[in-house]
Amino acid sequence: MACPFTLTFMQNIFFHILAALILIFAILTVTLKNTFRAVIAFAATLLFTGGLYLLLQAEFTAFMQILIYVGAVAVLTVFVIMLTSEIEDLSISRSNQSKGLGILFSLVLAILLIPIVIKISAHSAVLNPENNEIFKIGELFFSDYAIAFEITSILLLAALIGAIVIAGKNEKK
């Protein structure tokens, strides 16, 4: 899979936009006093980093980044914040006055996404089925890095059991 060194204009623009967004949200993550808002900025940083991985032709890694980091790690952090002492500082509004804004955002997202989906599904093949990233990563995982792959599964099992033991309720009290 050749690395296209002739960079297109759009690639450069998207890289600079994503880099600026990543740095802005990273600075917000480390400077916001309210921990809940810092977690939101943290999730945004991870999301835009996943977008940057798409530019680097790492589609599978981008999806795993969003799935694992944004979908599990950030959400788990929000749970832990809710369970610890930061509750008094949070100002979670229960009002419904942002319903109009929600509808507006959903409409904008639909108007932006639906033409793209229609255009993509009009072509027959989007991804090269024989020479893409998942293919090459799969080859490496089961040839060169097979031992590390298996040991990672043991590590995940150990972490699962360890987290339950550490954070579980004490029966003795």
């Binding site: 990273a26 480390v30 977690v39 790492a58 980044q65 980091y69 952090t77 002492s85 490496l140 360890g162």
Partner: protein, 102 residues
């Protein structure tokens, strides 16, 4: 999107994470800054994998996946530890956790 620009981005992200670890008081805020440093390293690996002669070297991608997995493991164990600390001392501020101090 040159290699130089990507490395500058990853260095800046790493420095921001380092600043967060050194300056923040809550354990969860420190943890998020550590995760920012992980992401900076991931961008570094992927950019070197991309700019690798004429072919993309996918070993960088494999290592990034391992880093993401280990970061998820660290999230589980670290946040469980934070919960245990909170249950014991009723605080998660690094200044107030002075049990090990002489």
């Amino acid at each position: 999107m040159t290699l130089q620009n990507l490395l500058i981005l990853s260095t800046l992200l790493f420095i921001i994470g380092l600043y967060g670890v050194l300056t923040r008081r809550s354990l969860i805020q420190m943890y998020m800054a550590i995760e920012l440093m992980f992401n900076a390293v991931n961008i570094n690996f992927l950019s070197f994998a991309y700019f690798n002669g004429s072919e993309i070297n996918f070993k960088g991608h494999v290592f990034v996946l391992f880093i993401i997995t280990v970061a998820a493991v660290e999230a589980a164990v670290g946040l469980a530890l934070i919960l245990a600390i909170y249950r014991r001392s009723n605080t998660i501020e690094a200044d107030k956790l002075t049990n090990l101090k002489h």
